[in-house]
Symmetry: C2
Subunit: 228 residues, 2 copies
């Protein structure tokens, strides 16, 4: 795979492309032009052509993109063929939601196990047959099974403790679902992704407030026109 | 409030500022310079000054930012003082996680009720006392209570149905936790925010794969040097 420095913005758009391509494939579409893809995604065709060109040549002038090849290329760029191994730390509501419903396999991951300190769930299996072990053994489990990614689903107040344990256990990536700010050792090369629900809700709130203000101004203008 | 066209990137950084300011306030900090704030957030001081200047003047040359005023200003910009009313649709694992643990109030929202079609939960209350009603009455509930935002936590296959119901019920915003692509009526001015877990995990996967490739190249270089 040719390696290019790819901007974060392009990387962030890739999963969206993937989701759209899967939707199109499921609908029986085999080829699509950059203009049609752009229309469906709310992006300009040139934006799409530019994004895809970062990874090599997929399209053929006048023929559009062949979906299976494009999909394979995006999947490979994203690392979906690496078979990274995942554990879930914390079997509360969020942990359970991921364990029961999230398709780790669809994105190329192997979900190996879940960990929790609660005796009532230790030794059980999730709906999809994932074993739940005692958090106390996470270190040896990771060492034995060469775990790549720990998904943090513990209560916020235990987030740093769980992260520290994951780091000691040698994971290479942390997927953080707690609302906490996780500190990693400065010299670590651990990759971290945070899902802060509040960031998304605050953005929604801002856009709602903006819309409300616009409507209030429009109403005020109309009333002023009525009076004059 | 002065209205300026603010870029999406700035908006997306605001919740991060808010989180950091709250962390600093909790630690007893009252004032902070843009350079220190930048250091802690991994942003340049000029980036921070530029972002904040979109909303007016908060800092005083040489004195830094006074945290309480800055926090209030950001909260007001984000619309946290609007008191938007929220319902949760779907009381599965994700719905339950939000109902039991997410601090809607902290961000200025009023969480009114949850809805589910399952008779076993209809009529119950969540841990924090939020009533769970029959999905069948979501329409009249929204009309009576002037609900602003519906949080979609239903299984993916019901996502569009739930979204359509929310739109008919007159909500102004949709916070989508399903993995589904939600279509809204073209003429609607409804604001939508999607939390696609997979987008975040795929980004993590990409950064891990990139790191792995870099390390493999470094190892190969070192081996080559050893041989020569």
């Amino acid at each position: 795979m040719k390696t290019l420095k790819i901007s974060n913005n392009v990387i962030r758009r890739m999963p969206r492309y993937l989701r759209k391509l899967d939707e199109l494939s499921a609908a029986g579409v085999e080829r699509i032009s950059s203009s049609e893809l752009g229309r469906q995604l709310g992006l300009t065709p040139s934006q799409i052509r530019q994004d895809f060109s970062c990874f090599g040549e997929f399209g053929q002038q006048g023929y559009g993109y062949y979906l299976p090849s494009l999909r394979d290329a995006i999947a490979s760029i994203l690392g979906m063929d690496r078979g990274y191994k995942v554990i879930v730390m914390g079997v509360g509501n969020i942990g359970r939601a991921l364990l029961d419903h999230f398709s780790f396999e669809e994105y190329g991951f192997h979900l190996l196990a879940a960990f929790d300190p609660d005796k009532r769930v230790i030794g059980s299996q999730t709906k999809r047959g994932i074993p739940v072990y005692d958090s106390a053994i996470v270190n040896e489990f990771c060492a034995e099974n060469d775990v790549d990614i720990a998904v943090l689903c513990v209560p916020s107040q235990y987030a740093q403790i769980a992260a520290d344990a994951a780091v000691r256990a040698g994971v290479k990536g942390i997927w953080n679902f707690t609302n906490a700010i996780i500190e990693l050792p400065e010299d670590s090369r651990i990759v971290k992704e945070d899902i802060y629900f509040s960031d998304s809700l605050l953005a929604l709130e801002y856009y709602l407030a903006t819309r409300q203000d616009e409507e209030a101004r429009r109403t005020a203008r109309l009333e002023k026109m009525d009076r004059t």
